[in-house]
């Protein structure tokens, strides 16, 4: 199949680390999914994930899915729909509400070579499992002197949906991306969701895979069959040369909208979707900023030491002399999420806020 040569590299066993150093030629990354020559189907983000899970479970009998309500209930967000019926209860395992415990069970299974996919109903609840993810999964290979691999994926929806209030609306990618030993992936489109989840499952390192709760119903073209996107590769989702809008997950659509709005005002914005937070695709980021000389980073989470702060740090360090303005950030408000719908809206990133930041770095506002 024509896409089968695309974006392997990192997805194959034993080559995980290479994404940190290997330079992937830009030409391997189509700017728009529609340029793929594989057969395309329009799928929701949810179904693209479901397809990735199914394909990988067919491909490798060591892959199994475990978490709350993934089986009988068909997934709290229906991402695992049909999998219990297809693969049976040994490979689609419903758990008690014990995030710490079943994260640890997955890690233990990975220690002896299975390839678990641990679903957190949402990443908010994974706070209970942070010890296992950070102290066990991220450390195992290193502290065993390279003897014990950790081919595990932790996945589930991240960020705010609608009016779920303070405990259910959080974005924790910065927390996990802070940790050496982990990779952090956050796809924004159905095609990326499929291609990246497949790579994550084949990766030999622990991957924190954060889905957008509000993205599950988003539709897009998805290549059928084997389709792998290397972990650690950003993608320019829209080309432009006056300002770079760095974004990921939910802020990608918002940035694309912002680019439309900016275009209407005569500004050509480049929309750069990080797709992977750790390892960062610095080369792609810097190439864009070298062209535009201005950047805005948009992320859903809180400002203090968010993933965007790292992006800013890297940009100002690496291309200081190329910058015509400080890099600005658009983030979620620095408050616990309020329930009230108007307050919630005010707390969230919006295309308008991105436009405003872009104008500031362009000194047109």
């Amino acid at each position: 199949m024509s896409t089968s040569t695309r974006g392997t590299g990192n997805g194959e066993r034993g080559t995980g680390r290479e994404t940190l150093s290997v330079t992937v030629p830009r030409s391997l990354f189509p700017v728009l999914p529609s340029r793929h020559r594989a057969t395309m189907t329009v799928l929701t983000y949810r179904d693209a994930l479901n397809q990735a899970l199914r394909e990988e479970m067919v491909r490798d009998p060591d892959v199994f899915l475990m978490g709350e309500e993934v089986g009988v209930y068909q997934g709290a967000y229906k991402v695992s729909r049909g999998l219990l019926e297809e693969f049976g209860p040994n490979r689609v395992v419903d758990t008690p509400i014990t995030e710490l415990g079943f994260a640890g069970v997955g890690i233990g299974a990975a220690m002896v070579g299975l390839r678990p996919i641990i679903e957190f109903m949402t990443w908010n609840f994974a706070l209970l499992a942070v010890d296992q993810i950070v102290n066990s999964a991220a450390k195992m290979r290193y502290m065993s002197g390279g003897q014990v691999g950790m081919p595990i994926v932790f996945r589930g929806p991240a960020g705010a949906a609608l009016q779920l209030a303070a405990q259910h609306s959080q974005s924790f990618e910065a927390m996990y991306a802070h940790i050496p030993g982990l990779k952090v992936v956050m796809p924004a489109t159905p095609a990326d969701a499929k291609g990246l989840l497949k790579s994550a499952i084949r990766d030999d390192d622990p991957v924190v895979f954060m889905e957008g709760e509000m993205l599950y119903n988003v539709k897009g073209e998805v290549p059928e069959g084997e389709y792998l996107i290397p972990i650690g590769s950003a993608e320019v989702k829209r080309a432009g040369d006056q300002v770079t809008l760095v974004c990921y997950s939910k802020t990608v659509a918002q940035s694309l909208k912002a680019a439309d709005l900016l275009e209407a005002e005569g500004v050509a914005a480049e929309v750069l979707d990080l797709r992977t937070i750790r390892p960062l695709d610095l080369e792609t980021i810097l190439a864009s900023v070298r062209k535009t000389h201005r950047a805005v980073v948009a992320e859903e989470g809180w400002p203090f030491a968010g993933a965007g702060a790292q992006v800013v740090d890297e940009i100002q360090r690496e291309v200081f002399d190329e910058l015509d303005a400080p890099v600005l950030r658009v983030t979620g408000a620095d408050v616990p999420m309020p329930y009230n719908r108007h307050l919630e809206k005010a707390a969230k990133v919006s295309p308008e806020k991105i436009v405003a930041a872009a104008k500031r770095v362009l000194y047109v506002a």
Partner: protein, 342 residues
């Protein structure tokens, strides 16, 4: 004779109290029905977990408390909040996210608070509030008070480490806590026996050197009696209790979950609905001549009017001002109450 008169007066008082419990259960039922309606109309957002079918648990347990006791609960806490006396207006307004809500519109359905009534949430992380309840019990003991800290949680929470750690500490330190496990047989779509190695949850109390009881949660009388015993144990000198109260939720887990389907059959739900706590208690009152159909009907109408009023109030109440977004992140920044009650 004076004695007879006093006895009759006591009876009247008891009758009044008993009818009051019926009214509280009805209030919950009608409130939840209305909340479901409002949710479908988009007036309530987020998650909304109804308490229909479990009313006797909240009403029976809270009937045994004093106003200075403390309560913590899960996201399925509308019933507990109403029973504790938070006006339906304030609860409904909170569900609507309005500034007149009991948490000022910031918390919503899952985070109802009223410090003035010792109602300390409304928590969304399964098991997460059980250590908090132990901590409240710790504070009671620290201050040498004779209050009680009551914690409501679902049966799925007993598998969580937070339950285990909290009950162990309550057991070592003999905290004045009552841990009320509302065993409605399902945690979302997971049946008890698929998630819990032992079928008899109350037996886990043995691990914590703690008294325990299994209670029929559809029968208000049973709930009140068991809770009475637990409260006696919890007031000084304190000892904690684990109550496993067996009940059933007549509705879906939350508004997005159908009543039956993947994880339970229509037949099962209908069989359980036949043991409606409101009907059981209403029938008892009728049998004992404490209420008749007309009075019951009148009570229901009154309750419905109260709920409609709450609904109207919620709808007409204003949203929080935009500046409210940054209030209450830290202290000294727009407190509305006195902060923590003591």
């Amino acid at each position: 004779m004076a004695t007879t008169k006093a006895a009759r007066k006591a009876d009247t008082k008891t009758a009044e109290k008993y009818r009051g419990y019926l009214r509280q259960m009805l209030l919950i039922r009608r409130f939840e029905e209305k909340a479901g309606e409002a949710y479908s109309l988009g007036k309530i957002g987020g998650f909304c977990h109804l308490y229909i079918g479990q009313e006797a648990v909240a009403v029976g347990c809270l009937s045994q408390l004093r106003p200075d006791d403390y309560i913590t609960a899960t996201y399925r806490e509308h019933g507990h909040a109403l029973t504790r006396g938070i006006p339906a207006r304030q609860v409904m307004a909170e569900l609507f996210g309005k500034v007149t809500g009991c948490s000022g519109g910031r918390g919503g359905s899952m985070h109802l608070f009223d410090v003035s009534r010792g109602f300390l949430g409304g928590h969304g992380i399964v098991g997460g509030h059980i250590p908090l309840a132990a901590g409240i019990g710790f504070a009671i003991k620290y201050r040498q008070q004779d209050r009680v800290s009551v914690c409501f949680f679902g049966e799925a929470a007993v598998n969580n480490g937070a339950f285990h750690e909290a009950l162990n500490m309550a057991g070592i330190w003999k905290l004045p806590c009552i841990f009320v496990c509302e065993n409605n047989r399902y945690g979302m779509g997971t049946a008890l026996d698929r998630a819990t190695a032992t079928w008899n949850i109350s037996e886990r109390a043995a691990s914590y050197d703690m008294s325990r009881e299994v209670v029929d949660g559809q029968d208000l009388t049973e709930v009140m009696a068991a809770m009475d015993r637990a409260v006696v144990r919890a007031r000084r000198p304190a000892a904690p209790t684990l109550l496993e109260i067996r009940t059933y939720r007549f509705v879906g887990h939350s508004m997005s979950d159908p009543i039956h389907g993947h994880y339970r059959t229509k037949e099962e739900v209908e069989a359980h609905r036949r043991r409606d706590p409101i009907v059981i208690w209403g029938d008892r009152l009728k049998e004992e001549g404490l209420i008749d159909d007309a009075a019951l009907h009148a009570m229901d109408e009154e309750v419905k009017a109260e709920i409609q009023d709450a609904y109207d109030f919620a709808e007409q109440s204003p949203d929080p001002a935009p500046e409210a977004l940054y209030e209450h992140v830290y202290a000294g920044n727009g407190e509305r109450g006195t902060g923590n009650g003591t």
